[in-house]
Protein backbone atom coordinates (compact mmCIF):
# COMPACT_ATOMS: atom_id res chain seq x y z
CA UNK A 1 0.00 0.00 0.00
CA UNK A 2 1.55 3.28 -1.07
CA UNK A 3 1.16 6.64 0.61
CA UNK A 4 -1.83 7.74 -1.44
CA UNK A 5 -3.69 4.53 -0.73
CA UNK A 6 -2.86 4.93 2.96
CA UNK A 7 -4.24 8.43 2.97
CA UNK A 8 -7.38 7.53 1.04
CA UNK A 9 -8.08 4.55 3.29
CA UNK A 10 -7.66 6.64 6.43
CA UNK A 11 -9.91 9.37 5.06
CA UNK A 12 -12.51 6.72 4.32
CA UNK A 13 -12.34 5.64 7.95
CA UNK A 14 -10.16 2.55 7.67
CA UNK A 15 -8.88 2.02 11.20
CA UNK A 16 -6.44 -0.71 10.22
CA UNK A 17 -4.79 1.55 7.67
CA UNK A 18 -4.21 4.15 10.35
CA UNK A 19 -2.76 1.52 12.65
CA UNK A 20 -0.38 0.37 9.93
CA UNK A 21 0.70 3.96 9.36
CA UNK A 22 1.37 4.45 13.06
CA UNK A 23 3.39 1.22 13.21
CA UNK A 24 5.46 2.27 10.24
CA UNK A 25 6.12 5.87 11.28
CA UNK A 26 6.19 5.80 15.07
CA UNK A 27 9.88 4.91 15.30
CA UNK A 28 11.25 7.75 13.15
CA UNK A 29 8.87 10.26 14.70
CA UNK A 30 9.68 9.35 18.28
CA UNK A 31 13.42 9.39 17.55
CA UNK A 32 13.29 12.78 15.89
CA UNK A 33 11.22 14.26 18.70
CA UNK A 34 13.51 12.74 21.32
CA UNK A 35 16.56 14.30 19.68
CA UNK A 36 14.88 17.67 19.73
CA UNK A 37 13.42 17.46 23.21
CA UNK A 38 16.02 15.28 24.93
CA UNK A 39 13.27 13.38 26.72
CA UNK A 40 11.84 10.09 25.38
CA UNK A 41 8.57 10.45 27.29
CA UNK A 42 7.98 13.97 26.03
CA UNK A 43 8.93 12.74 22.57
CA UNK A 44 6.19 10.11 22.71
CA UNK A 45 3.68 12.71 23.81
CA UNK A 46 4.56 14.95 20.91
CA UNK A 47 4.56 12.04 18.45
CA UNK A 48 1.13 11.01 19.69
CA UNK A 49 -0.20 14.53 19.17
CA UNK A 50 1.30 14.48 15.72
CA UNK A 51 -0.49 11.27 14.79
CA UNK A 52 -3.80 12.55 16.13
CA UNK A 53 -3.37 15.76 14.16
CA UNK A 54 -2.46 13.82 11.04
CA UNK A 55 -5.51 11.64 11.51
CA UNK A 56 -7.65 14.75 11.49
CA UNK A 57 -6.12 16.56 8.56
CA UNK A 58 -4.82 13.76 6.37
CA UNK A 59 -7.55 14.63 3.89
CA UNK A 60 -5.66 17.85 3.19
CA UNK A 61 -2.45 16.03 2.29
CA UNK A 62 -1.86 16.87 -1.35
CA UNK A 63 0.39 13.93 -2.13
CA UNK A 64 3.45 16.09 -2.73
CA UNK A 65 6.44 14.29 -1.29
CA UNK A 66 6.09 11.33 1.01
CA UNK A 67 3.69 10.74 3.84
CA UNK A 68 6.73 10.04 6.01
CA UNK A 69 8.17 13.46 5.31
CA UNK A 70 4.82 15.14 5.87
CA UNK A 71 4.37 13.45 9.25
CA UNK A 72 7.96 14.12 10.23
CA UNK A 73 7.64 17.78 9.47
CA UNK A 74 4.50 18.05 11.60
CA UNK A 75 6.24 16.29 14.49
CA UNK A 76 9.46 18.30 14.22
CA UNK A 77 7.68 21.64 14.15
CA UNK A 78 5.54 20.64 17.11
CA UNK A 79 8.59 19.51 19.09
CA UNK A 80 10.42 22.73 18.32
CA UNK A 81 7.45 24.71 19.59
CA UNK A 82 7.51 22.68 22.80
CA UNK A 83 11.21 23.42 23.25
CA UNK A 84 10.66 27.09 22.68
CA UNK A 85 7.78 27.17 25.16
CA UNK A 86 9.54 25.27 27.89
CA UNK A 87 13.22 26.12 27.67
CA UNK A 88 13.68 23.68 30.47
CA UNK A 89 16.76 23.62 32.62
CA UNK A 90 18.36 20.29 33.37
CA UNK A 91 17.07 19.31 36.81
CA UNK A 92 19.74 18.33 39.29
CA UNK A 93 17.34 17.10 41.97
CA UNK A 94 14.10 15.14 41.85
CA UNK A 95 10.88 16.24 43.49
CA UNK A 96 11.93 14.86 46.91
CA UNK A 97 15.17 16.83 46.87
CA UNK A 98 17.41 13.83 46.42
CA UNK A 99 20.13 14.02 43.76
CA UNK A 100 19.11 12.36 40.53
CA UNK A 101 20.53 8.94 39.89
CA UNK A 102 23.03 9.18 37.08
CA UNK A 103 22.77 6.30 34.64
CA UNK A 104 25.93 4.52 33.69
CA UNK A 105 27.03 3.56 37.15
CA UNK A 106 30.74 3.06 36.83
CA UNK A 107 31.47 6.21 34.84
CA UNK A 108 29.22 8.88 36.26
CA UNK A 109 31.43 11.78 35.22
CA UNK A 110 31.50 10.63 31.63
CA UNK A 111 27.76 10.31 31.57
CA UNK A 112 27.28 13.74 33.10
CA UNK A 113 29.55 15.26 30.52
CA UNK A 114 27.74 13.38 27.77
CA UNK A 115 24.36 14.57 29.03
CA UNK A 116 25.67 18.10 29.17
CA UNK A 117 26.92 17.84 25.62
CA UNK A 118 23.59 16.45 24.44
CA UNK A 119 21.83 19.34 26.09
CA UNK A 120 24.19 21.75 24.41
CA UNK A 121 23.44 20.21 21.01
CA UNK A 122 19.71 20.43 21.62
CA UNK A 123 19.85 24.06 22.69
CA UNK A 124 22.19 25.05 19.89
CA UNK A 125 19.98 23.50 17.24
CA UNK A 126 16.80 24.86 18.80
CA UNK A 127 18.25 28.38 18.88
CA UNK A 128 19.06 28.40 15.16
CA UNK A 129 16.95 30.73 13.07
CA UNK A 130 14.74 29.32 10.36
CA UNK A 131 15.21 27.99 7.74
CA UNK A 132 18.55 26.66 9.05
CA UNK A 133 16.96 25.06 12.08
CA UNK A 134 14.34 23.18 10.10
CA UNK A 135 16.88 22.00 7.56
CA UNK A 136 19.33 20.78 10.21
CA UNK A 137 16.61 19.04 12.22
CA UNK A 138 15.07 17.31 9.21
CA UNK A 139 18.51 16.21 7.97
CA UNK A 140 20.17 14.95 11.16
CA UNK A 141 17.31 14.37 13.61
CA UNK A 142 14.69 13.31 11.08
CA UNK A 143 17.14 11.40 8.93
CA UNK A 144 15.86 12.80 5.65
CA UNK A 145 18.07 13.19 2.61
CA UNK A 146 18.61 16.57 0.99
CA UNK A 147 16.33 15.57 -1.89
CA UNK A 148 13.58 14.61 0.56
CA UNK A 149 13.96 17.89 2.44
CA UNK A 150 13.73 19.79 -0.83
CA UNK A 151 10.61 17.86 -1.74
CA UNK A 152 8.94 18.43 1.63
CA UNK A 153 9.81 22.08 2.01
CA UNK A 154 9.35 23.00 -1.64
CA UNK A 155 12.79 24.54 -1.85
CA UNK A 156 15.38 23.83 -4.54
CA UNK A 157 18.08 21.30 -3.69
CA UNK A 158 20.76 23.97 -4.01
CA UNK A 159 18.95 26.14 -1.52
CA UNK A 160 18.64 23.25 0.93
CA UNK A 161 22.39 22.58 0.60
CA UNK A 162 23.12 26.22 1.27
CA UNK A 163 20.88 26.26 4.33
CA UNK A 164 22.50 23.08 5.56
CA UNK A 165 26.06 24.40 5.19
CA UNK A 166 25.28 27.75 6.77
CA UNK A 167 23.35 26.11 9.59
CA UNK A 168 26.28 23.84 10.41
CA UNK A 169 28.65 26.81 10.46
CA UNK A 170 26.32 28.67 12.81
CA UNK A 171 26.38 25.69 15.16
CA UNK A 172 30.15 25.54 15.19
CA UNK A 173 30.83 28.18 17.91
CA UNK A 174 28.25 26.70 20.29
CA UNK A 175 29.48 23.15 19.90
CA UNK A 176 33.13 24.14 20.20
CA UNK A 177 32.61 25.14 23.84
CA UNK A 178 32.62 21.57 25.08
Amino acid sequence: MDDREFAQAIVAGDRDAFRLLVERESGPLVRACARILGDPDAAEDVAQECFVTAHKVIGSWRGEGSLHGWLLRIAVNRALRVVKAQRRLLPLEDESGEPLAIPGGSEPLTNVLMAERDRLVQEAVASLPDPYRETIVLRYFGELSIAEIASETGRPIGTVKTHLGRGLLRLRPALAEV
Binding site: V11, A12, G13, R15, F18, R19, V22, E23, S26, G27, V30, R31, A34, R35, G38, P40, A43, E44, A47, Q48, F51, V52, H55, K56, V57, I58, G59, S60, M114, R117, D118, V121, V125, I136, R139, Y140, F141, E143, S145, I146, K161, L164, G165, L168, L169, L171, R172, L175
Partner: protein
Protein backbone atom coordinates in the same frame (compact mmCIF):
# COMPACT_ATOMS: atom_id res chain seq x y z
CA UNK B 1 19.20 5.07 9.27
CA UNK B 2 21.36 7.95 10.33
CA UNK B 3 23.13 9.74 7.47
CA UNK B 4 26.87 9.34 7.75
CA UNK B 5 29.43 12.07 7.27
CA UNK B 6 31.15 12.21 3.93
CA UNK B 7 28.14 11.01 1.91
CA UNK B 8 26.82 12.55 -1.25
CA UNK B 9 24.77 15.04 0.69
CA UNK B 10 27.88 16.16 2.57
CA UNK B 11 29.75 17.23 -0.55
CA UNK B 12 30.61 20.90 -0.59
CA UNK B 13 30.71 21.26 3.19
CA UNK B 14 33.69 22.99 4.72
CA UNK B 15 35.91 21.34 7.32
CA UNK B 16 34.05 23.12 10.10
CA UNK B 17 30.76 22.01 8.59
CA UNK B 18 31.92 18.43 8.41
CA UNK B 19 33.04 18.54 12.03
CA UNK B 20 29.67 19.82 13.20
CA UNK B 21 27.94 17.26 11.01
CA UNK B 22 29.90 14.47 12.65
CA UNK B 23 28.94 15.86 16.05
CA UNK B 24 25.26 15.90 15.16
CA UNK B 25 25.43 12.37 13.78
CA UNK B 26 27.05 11.09 16.94
CA UNK B 27 24.32 12.76 18.94
CA UNK B 28 21.61 11.21 16.75
CA UNK B 29 23.18 7.78 17.15
CA UNK B 30 23.18 8.14 20.93
CA UNK B 31 19.65 9.46 21.19
CA UNK B 32 17.55 6.94 19.29
CA UNK B 33 14.82 5.63 21.55
CA UNK B 34 12.19 3.21 20.36
CA UNK B 35 8.52 3.81 21.11
CA UNK B 36 7.20 2.08 24.20
CA UNK B 37 4.89 -0.91 23.94
CA UNK B 38 1.91 1.15 24.99
CA UNK B 39 2.56 3.88 22.47
CA UNK B 40 0.51 2.28 19.70
CA UNK B 41 -2.54 1.76 21.91
CA UNK B 42 -2.30 5.30 23.23
CA UNK B 43 -2.24 6.74 19.74
CA UNK B 44 -5.15 4.64 18.56
CA UNK B 45 -7.21 5.52 21.62
CA UNK B 46 -6.46 9.21 21.16
CA UNK B 47 -7.41 9.03 17.50
CA UNK B 48 -10.67 7.34 18.39
CA UNK B 49 -11.51 10.14 20.79
CA UNK B 50 -10.96 12.68 18.03
CA UNK B 51 -13.15 11.71 15.09
CA UNK B 52 -12.33 12.91 11.64
CA UNK B 53 -13.43 16.48 11.00
CA UNK B 54 -15.68 17.33 8.10
CA UNK B 55 -12.70 18.37 5.97
CA UNK B 56 -11.13 14.95 6.37
CA UNK B 57 -14.18 12.87 5.54
CA UNK B 58 -15.15 11.49 2.21
CA UNK B 59 -17.09 13.77 -0.16
CA UNK B 60 -20.16 11.53 -0.01
CA UNK B 61 -20.28 11.67 3.78
CA UNK B 62 -19.68 15.41 3.75
CA UNK B 63 -22.48 15.98 1.21
CA UNK B 64 -24.88 13.89 3.25
CA UNK B 65 -24.06 15.81 6.41
CA UNK B 66 -24.44 19.14 4.66
CA UNK B 67 -27.85 18.16 3.31
CA UNK B 68 -29.00 17.05 6.74
CA UNK B 69 -27.70 20.24 8.32
CA UNK B 70 -29.45 22.37 5.71
CA UNK B 71 -32.69 20.47 6.30
CA UNK B 72 -32.46 21.06 10.02
CA UNK B 73 -31.81 24.76 9.53
CA UNK B 74 -34.73 25.06 7.11
CA UNK B 75 -37.04 23.33 9.54
CA UNK B 76 -36.02 25.67 12.31
CA UNK B 77 -36.50 28.70 10.08
CA UNK B 78 -39.96 27.59 9.00
CA UNK B 79 -40.94 26.95 12.58
CA UNK B 80 -39.78 30.44 13.49
CA UNK B 81 -41.73 32.01 10.61
CA UNK B 82 -44.86 30.08 11.45
CA UNK B 83 -44.44 31.12 15.01
CA UNK B 84 -45.59 27.84 16.45
CA UNK B 85 -47.95 27.95 19.34
CA UNK B 86 -45.97 30.54 21.27
CA UNK B 87 -47.06 33.48 19.09
CA UNK B 88 -50.72 34.57 19.28
CA UNK B 89 -52.83 34.36 16.16
CA UNK B 90 -53.50 38.11 16.21
CA UNK B 91 -49.79 38.89 16.07
CA UNK B 92 -49.27 36.43 13.24
CA UNK B 93 -52.16 37.99 11.26
CA UNK B 94 -50.72 41.44 11.81
CA UNK B 95 -47.31 40.26 10.66
CA UNK B 96 -48.85 38.74 7.54
CA UNK B 97 -50.78 41.94 6.78
CA UNK B 98 -47.62 43.91 7.23
CA UNK B 99 -45.85 41.65 4.76
CA UNK B 100 -48.66 42.16 2.22
CA UNK B 101 -48.47 45.94 2.65
CA UNK B 102 -44.73 45.91 2.20
CA UNK B 103 -45.09 43.82 -0.94
CA UNK B 104 -47.70 46.24 -2.34
CA UNK B 105 -45.48 49.20 -1.57
CA UNK B 106 -42.59 47.57 -3.34
CA UNK B 107 -44.78 46.84 -6.37
CA UNK B 108 -46.15 50.41 -6.46
CA UNK B 109 -42.64 51.81 -6.18
CA UNK B 110 -41.49 49.68 -9.05
CA UNK B 111 -44.44 50.80 -11.18
CA UNK B 112 -43.75 54.46 -10.40
CA UNK B 113 -40.12 54.04 -11.26
CA UNK B 114 -41.02 52.42 -14.55
CA UNK B 115 -43.47 55.20 -15.42
CA UNK B 116 -40.93 57.86 -14.53
CA UNK B 117 -38.28 56.23 -16.62
CA UNK B 118 -40.65 55.98 -19.54
CA UNK B 119 -41.53 59.66 -19.20
CA UNK B 120 -37.90 60.68 -19.12
CA UNK B 121 -37.09 58.56 -22.15
CA UNK B 122 -40.00 60.02 -24.04
CA UNK B 123 -39.01 63.55 -23.09
CA UNK B 124 -35.41 63.00 -24.13
CA UNK B 125 -36.30 61.31 -27.40
CA UNK B 126 -39.00 63.83 -28.30
CA UNK B 127 -36.81 66.57 -29.90
CA UNK B 128 -35.09 63.98 -32.03
CA UNK B 129 -38.29 62.82 -33.66
CA UNK B 130 -38.10 63.30 -37.44
CA UNK B 131 -40.06 66.24 -38.88
CA UNK B 132 -42.87 65.69 -41.29
CA UNK B 133 -41.64 65.55 -44.85
CA UNK B 134 -38.05 64.88 -44.02
CA UNK B 135 -36.28 61.58 -44.24
CA UNK B 136 -35.13 59.86 -41.12
CA UNK B 137 -31.47 60.31 -40.47
CA UNK B 138 -29.21 57.30 -40.30
CA UNK B 139 -27.52 58.92 -37.35
CA UNK B 140 -30.25 59.55 -34.82
CA UNK B 141 -27.84 60.93 -32.25
CA UNK B 142 -26.92 63.85 -34.42
CA UNK B 143 -28.74 67.12 -34.44
CA UNK B 144 -30.78 67.19 -37.61
CA UNK B 145 -29.77 70.82 -38.14
CA UNK B 146 -26.14 69.93 -38.43
CA UNK B 147 -24.51 68.52 -41.54
CA UNK B 148 -24.03 64.82 -41.50
CA UNK B 149 -22.29 62.62 -43.99
CA UNK B 150 -24.23 59.69 -42.79
CA UNK B 151 -27.65 61.17 -43.26
CA UNK B 152 -29.27 60.65 -46.59
CA UNK B 153 -28.89 63.47 -49.07
CA UNK B 154 -31.86 65.48 -49.93
CA UNK B 155 -33.47 64.97 -53.26
CA UNK B 156 -34.34 68.59 -53.42
CA UNK B 157 -31.98 70.53 -55.66
CA UNK B 158 -31.75 73.24 -53.09
CA UNK B 159 -30.53 71.13 -50.32
CA UNK B 160 -30.89 72.33 -46.79
CA UNK B 161 -29.81 71.11 -43.42
CA UNK B 162 -32.93 72.48 -41.95
CA UNK B 163 -35.74 70.07 -41.67
CA UNK B 164 -38.07 70.72 -44.49
CA UNK B 165 -35.52 72.66 -46.52
CA UNK B 166 -33.95 69.56 -48.00
CA UNK B 167 -30.39 70.62 -47.42
CA UNK B 168 -30.66 74.07 -48.90
CA UNK B 169 -28.91 76.63 -46.75
CA UNK B 170 -31.47 79.09 -45.68
CA UNK B 171 -32.00 81.35 -42.75
CA UNK B 172 -35.61 81.78 -43.56
CA UNK B 173 -37.46 78.56 -43.68
CA UNK B 174 -39.68 78.41 -46.64
CA UNK B 175 -38.06 81.22 -48.66
CA UNK B 176 -35.77 78.97 -50.64
CA UNK B 177 -33.04 81.53 -50.84
CA UNK B 178 -35.22 84.33 -52.08
CA UNK B 179 -34.54 87.61 -50.41
CA UNK B 180 -37.50 88.33 -48.34
CA UNK B 181 -38.08 89.59 -44.90
CA UNK B 182 -41.54 88.20 -44.92
CA UNK B 183 -41.48 84.55 -44.42
CA UNK B 184 -43.86 82.41 -46.29
CA UNK B 185 -44.47 84.56 -49.32
CA UNK B 186 -42.00 82.90 -51.68
CA UNK B 187 -42.29 85.75 -54.00
CA UNK B 188 -45.97 85.16 -54.40
CA UNK B 189 -48.42 87.90 -54.03
CA UNK B 190 -49.14 88.73 -50.51
CA UNK B 191 -52.15 87.32 -48.87
CA UNK B 192 -51.99 90.05 -46.37
CA UNK B 193 -54.51 92.73 -46.86
CA UNK B 194 -53.48 96.26 -47.24
CA UNK B 195 -50.19 97.98 -47.67
CA UNK B 196 -50.32 97.72 -51.42
CA UNK B 197 -48.80 100.66 -53.14
CA UNK B 198 -50.98 103.50 -52.50
CA UNK B 199 -51.97 106.03 -54.89
CA UNK B 200 -51.65 108.44 -52.20
CA UNK B 201 -48.64 110.67 -52.55
CA UNK B 202 -47.47 109.64 -49.20
CA UNK B 203 -47.14 106.00 -49.84
CA UNK B 204 -46.83 103.70 -46.99
CA UNK B 205 -43.38 102.82 -45.85
CA UNK B 206 -44.48 99.57 -44.36
CA UNK B 207 -42.49 96.77 -45.82
CA UNK B 208 -43.61 93.32 -46.70
CA UNK B 209 -45.40 93.50 -49.98
CA UNK B 210 -42.41 93.20 -52.21
CA UNK B 211 -44.11 95.33 -54.68
CA UNK B 212 -46.24 92.48 -55.91
CA UNK B 213 -49.89 92.74 -56.45
CA UNK B 214 -52.03 91.39 -53.79
CA UNK B 215 -54.93 89.19 -54.21
CA UNK B 216 -56.28 89.98 -50.90
CA UNK B 217 -59.31 91.93 -50.25
CA UNK B 218 -59.20 95.30 -51.59
CA UNK B 219 -57.76 97.61 -49.09
CA UNK B 220 -59.51 100.45 -47.88
CA UNK B 221 -58.04 103.53 -49.33
CA UNK B 222 -55.64 105.01 -46.99
CA UNK B 223 -56.90 108.07 -45.50
CA UNK B 224 -53.47 109.24 -44.88
CA UNK B 225 -53.32 112.82 -44.13
Amino acid sequence: MIPRAGGTDSQGLSADGLAVEAELQDYAARVAPTPSAAFMDRVMAAAERNPLPIAGRSPRVRASELVHAAGRRLGVALAQVAGGSSIPLRVRVQAGAMLVVVALLITAGAALATAGATTVVTWVAGPQAPAAGSRPSASPALNPNQPSDTSPRSDHPNGSNNPGNHGQPSQNPGNHGQPSQNPGNHGQPSQNPGNRPSDHPNASNNPGNGGGPTEGPKPTAAAHP
